[in-house]
């Protein structure tokens, strides 16, 4: 991809960035509830609450969380697709919180995205050559034609598709193929950051692995950074260097991906890990027991009506009194990042260490406690 015309990119002052490529600082996004013409407007949905993280050049930051936790909204805020309440977003040191129209083209050239649904994220009326080529025309001025097709062909090559796909329409392709077309489209403008929002979630595991390999290979070759969003922690851990865990709009834990996976410091992270089904009946039987320490049928609170304390409190097996009243602030954790949980400063004062053992002991004592109460009730 050395043969493409390079435009000067004033937004990125230098090719070698000293600090982070992307910095998100204290991001808040609220959605006004659809007000009626008359009457009181209901409270806004607080989709993102004080999220901060950064992505280093050539690195992948993974974002996980349940549906509705605000992952996509973070992505859409960075992509300028939703209005934000407060906070700042920086790209290579430049403020891109709200990109003015005259800089938009420049911004779009640096930040691209691969979106979730391989069926609706491609326009059904266009062929691959247009879907992938449009960005090239837009950013490099190469008009539709043989030269642009050749370039699109190289991009298809990079994502493991033959040139015969040039004149295919989206409905003529499988889900995995479409998703690779989406990746080729994002690559076409040679961005510095690609945001992949559930880019592999709709695919079969075998195909998902193909797409993930393509993403990693591209990172090795071009040094692009990724913000990789998915609900599957196993997949996110595999592709990410750093990891953030979201719950109800809060980033409850962030740090080194493998370290978090091996020794989570937030009860919710532990719950997510315990919920991943393992393809091994013996291992899974053990996981299932671990998972059941969390099992309660409580539903998460509504993002339009968040409790004053920790939002995970009603599902947390180790919640304390303070959790109901005070929202925990981020404190440093062993994996180099931080965690929002009172366990690290009150109660057992874990001080940023793993929460796994504590939950296990707590669950065991709770189990024997409930057995005792069962015995009591049967005795009556």
């Amino acid at each position: 991809m050395t043969d493409t015309p390079t435009t000067n990119t004033p937004m990125l002052r230098s090719q070698d960035i000293d600090g982070a490529l992307l910095e998100v600082d204290d991001l808040h996004v609220h959605f006004a509830s659809r007000g009626k013409l008359f009457g009181t407007t209901p409270p806004p949905v607080k989709a993102v609450n004080g999220v901060s993280f950064s992505i280093a050049p050539e690195k992948t930051f993974g974002l996980v969380g349940e549906s509705g936790s605000g992952k996509s909204t973070v992505a859409r805020a960075i992509l300028q697709l939703v209005d934000i309440q407060s906070g700042t977003i920086r790209l290579a040191g430049d403020d891109v919180t709200k990109v003015p129209p005259r800089d938009e083209l420049d911004f779009r050239k640096n930040v691209q995205a691969v979106l979730q649904d391989p069926f609706s994220s491609l326009n059904q009326v266009h062929q691959t050559r247009t879907i992938v080529g449009d960005g090239i025309t837009r950013h490099y001025g190469t008009k539709a034609g043989a030269a642009r097709d050749e370039r699109v062909g190289l991009l298809l090559d990079a994502v493991g598709l033959s040139c015969e796909f040039l004149d295919r329409y989206p409905y003529e392709m499988s889900g995995g193929q479409r998703q690779r077309i989406s990746i080729a489209r994002a690559l076409a403008v040679e961005p510095r950051l690609i945001i992949a929002d559930e880019a592999t979630s709709a695919l079969d595991v075998s195909i998902q692995s193909q797409v993930i390999n393509v993403l990693r290979r591209i990172q090795d070759d071009s040094g692009v950074s990724f913000l990789f969003i998915a609900h599957d922690l196993e997949v996110v851990k595999h592709v990410s260097h750093d990891l953030g865990v979201m719950y109800l709009g809060y980033l409850v834990e962030k740090g080194d991906a493998n370290a978090i996976y091996d020794a989570p410091t937030h009860p919710y992270t532990e719950m997510l890990i315990a919920s991943i089904p393992m393809p091994d009946p013996v291992v899974q039987a053990a996981r299932r027991e671990l998972r059941q320490t969390f099992e309660d049928d409580a539903e998460p609170p509504s993002p339009a009506n968040l409790p004053p304390g920790c939002p995970f409190e009603n599902r947390c097996p180790v919640a304390m009194d303070i959790c109901r009243e005070v929202m925990p602030e981020p404190t440093p954790a062993h994996h180099g990042g931080d965690v929002r949980c009172h366990l690290h400063t009150s109660g057992p004062e874990l001080a940023g260490e793993s929460v796994v053992e504590f939950i296990k002991t707590k669950a065991q004592s709770k189990l024997s406690g409930s057995q005792r109460s069962n015995d009591k009730s049967s005795a009556q």
Partner: protein
């Protein structure tokens, strides 16, 4: 980045191109007799419009006031007779087509030229501006069209052109509505986000991305409105405020025939009236036909069940035992296709499930998992049909059962839960009523009994506060809670067999665990058989007792859950296990299964997995492997049992691929 480094090991080439929607559209149009009629009629009209002299036999203005030439009936010279001034009806009708099309052209240009941009703008902007525009539009919309046309004529001068300007403005409101609706919907589509991310400007997004998606409905609407425009034009001319009184306009002709028709008989209004009626009809038929031809096949969405034909018996016998719930032997299912040969969706599928047992069915999408279960229960979607095999359900042969007999069995003995719980619930109906309905129909319960039972069921699936939840609507349920309702509904009639088709795929992992636990708990309590369809081997590992691995519409292997995970017999099973990120250690590339699942219209010859199998040899690509029985299980692989063949050593057969 250099290209050579990026080259992946296997590059995919697409399957042969199918019919494009355009080809499909025209095929359907020609096959529809009404559409054909209207298209032929339009060809005639268009020729009359661009080259009337070709069709006309007389000068339409030439009068012939000799007495015997007035009000003539049809004759060899005047095919459709003459009018009160001795002019040739037929030729005037031919020339009239030009007036009709000119009216349509003027009014449509204005209607689309004004309506579509306003609709695009309004829909894209949304919010207050949109509301204001739509308010004005609705006011204009509610005014009678003729009134607007008259207003323009009064302001300007009476002429057909000016009248059509008024009609165009009135019709623009229809296009504003249509365009805005489509824009509002398309705006939310991911591909529009994708275009914005690419940096495409808004006008360009509207023109290149949204407008093409608008086109089909626009054409349909335009066809129907064209019919209306002709009628309105004719009405205005008939009233004397449209075309000039000498012109061969159909409305004028009607007007001129009016005083004569009582004296001279009905014939006088037939030529112009007939042309008018036929044209309006043709426009409406064309609109309908286009809509039908664009629309999806109804049969592919609705679950219409094929009429039963007698099915060739299976060659192997059923398993035995009192606890056998369902047993399927050697089932083939075929779908006829419009062009070419029938495609065989399922081939030689056999399995059985016993009471209290969970059979996990696993395979990539398109491998035939759902079709297997539908067909086993007599639900093969039309036009497919089961052509071979036999099915035993609760000890009875149900292979050739009528649909009616099946219905009563399915209603009582089989429960089904689906991937999208919300989609199964009717959004307009309270959840309680939906649970109670089958109880009242199949179990004959009274309303009060059904309600008590519904509360019990919701309690059984651990929905908190069940009595209150019964009176809520589906949108008040989260995905996990909705799936619990789905399970409660499936359990309502105490089924012996529960089929769960990807019951947890659409749910969060944390909720997925709860649902699997719930199913296990209910199974123990009721000693129910469960068939669990999923593409997630982790779910299989947790919940299944026995496993059926499917690929390409065939059973690849069966086995106990331990066998399948620790001692897989088939290369496909092994490959599936290897692709799980959980089974991947280290930082290198994830294992993949190269290539894609084949289409039923193009099964590979020989082993269907051969093009993707790392163990494939030459004979694999020519010989279809038979289903081998191994103890109580089966496997479909030519190399099974071959001396020294080891699934853990992929190197042994890779020469074919490289």
């Amino acid at each position: 980045m250099s290209e050579s480094e990026l080259e992946p090991t296997i590059e995919e080439t697409p399957p042969p191109k199918a019919d494009s929607p355009r080809q499909r559209f025209w095929k359907r149009m020609v096959r529809n007799p009404l559409a054909l009629f209207s298209m032929v009629w339009f060809v005639i009209l268009i020729v009359s419009w661009v080259w009337p002299e070709l069709l006309a036999t007389h000068d339409p203005f030439k009068q012939d006031v000799t007495l015997q030439r007035l009000f003539e009936g049809p004759s060899g010279d005047h095919w459709l007779g003459t009018d009160g001034l001795g002019r040739d009806h037929y030729s005037r009708v031919v020339f009239g087509a030009g007036f009709a099309f000119r009216s349509i052209f003027i009014a449509m240009t204005i209607a689309i030229g004004i309506g579509v941009p306003i609709g695009l703008f309004s829909g894209w902007r949304g919010g207050r501006i949109d509301r204001a525009i739509m308010w004005v539009n609705d006011v204009l919309f509610s005014l009678p069209i003729i009134l607007l046309a008259m207003a323009v004529i009064i302001i300007l001068t009476p002429s057909l052109t000016n009248a059509m300007i008024g009609v165009g403005i009135a019709m623009a409101t229809r296009f504003v509505r249509l365009t805005r609706g489509v824009t509002l919907a398309e705006k939310e589509e991911l591909y529009v986000d994708a275009a914005r991310i690419t940096g495409i400007s808004v006008p360009r997004i509207l023109a290149r991305y949204i407008a093409p998606n608008l086109l089909p409905s626009l054409i349909v609407q335009a066809a129907i409105i064209s019919g209306a425009i002709i009628l309105i034009g004719a009405t205005l001319s008939f009233l004397g405020i449209g075309a000039s009184l000498d012109d061969p306009d159909w409305g004028v002709m009607l007007n001129r025939a009016r005083p004569d028709f009582r004296r001279e008989g009905i014939w006088q209004i037939m030529p112009s009236g007939g042309a008018l009626v036929l044209t309006v009809l043709a426009f409406n038929l064309l609109g309908d036909a286009i809509r039908d031809a664009i629309g999806r096949d109804a049969s592919s969405n609705a679950l219409t069940i094929t009429k039963r034909v007698s099915v060739a018996a299976a060659s192997t016998s059923h398993a035995e035992g009192d606890d056998l719930v369902i047993s399927v032997r050697d089932m083939d299912v075929e779908f006829p296709s419009a062009k070419g040969p029938v495609s065989e969706i399922l081939n030689g599928v056999s399995f059985e499930v016993r009471a209290g047992e969970t059979l996990g069915v696993v395979g990539e999408s398109g491998s035939g998992k759902s079709m297997t279960m539908l067909s086993a229960l007599g639900l093969t979607p039309a036009p497919g049909r089961m052509t071979r095999g036999s099915v035993n359900f609760l000890g009875e042969d149900v292979t050739n059962l009528t649909e009616k007999a099946w219905q009563s069995i399915r209603g009582k003995e089989v429960g089904v839960i689906f991937q999208e719980p919300i989609a199964v619930l009717n959004p307009a109906m309270k959840v309680g009523a939906q649970i109670m309905e089958p109880l009242r129909i199949h179990m004959g319960m009274s309303k009060a009994e059904a309600r008590t039972r519904a509360v019990e069921l919701l309690t059984e699936v651990r929905v908190p506060d069940p009595a209150r939840r019964l009176d809520q609507y589906p949108h008040e349920f989260s995905g996990g809670m909705a799936q619990r309702v789905g399970i409660a509904m499936a359990l309502a009639c105490e089924p012996k067999l529960l089929i769960a088709d990807e019951p947890s795929t659409a749910l969060d992992v944390t909720v997925q665990g709860q649902i699997l636990d719930l199913l296990a708990e209910i199974q123990t309590r009721r000693n129910m058989a469960i068939i669990l369809i999923t593409h997630d081997l982790g779910v299989i590992a947790e919940a299944a007792d026995r496993v059926l691995v499917m690929y390409g519409g065939q059973v690849m292997e069966t086995g106990s859950v331990e066998d399948v995970f620790f001692r897989p017999k088939h290369p496909y099973t092994k490959a599936l296990l290897d692709t799980m990120p959980q089974n991947h250690s280290g930082d290198g590339e994830l294992a993949v299964i190269a290539g894609i699942v084949p289409q039923p219209t193009a099964w590979p010859t020989g082993c269907r997995f051969a093009p993707r199998c790392v163990h494939a040899t030459d004979s694999c690509t020519s010989t279809m492997p038979p289903l081998l029985t191994v103890n109580t299980d089966v496997v479909r692989c030519l190399r099974h049992g071959e001396e020294g063949f080891d699934l853990a050593q992929p190197a042994s057969g890779t020469e074919v691929l490289s």
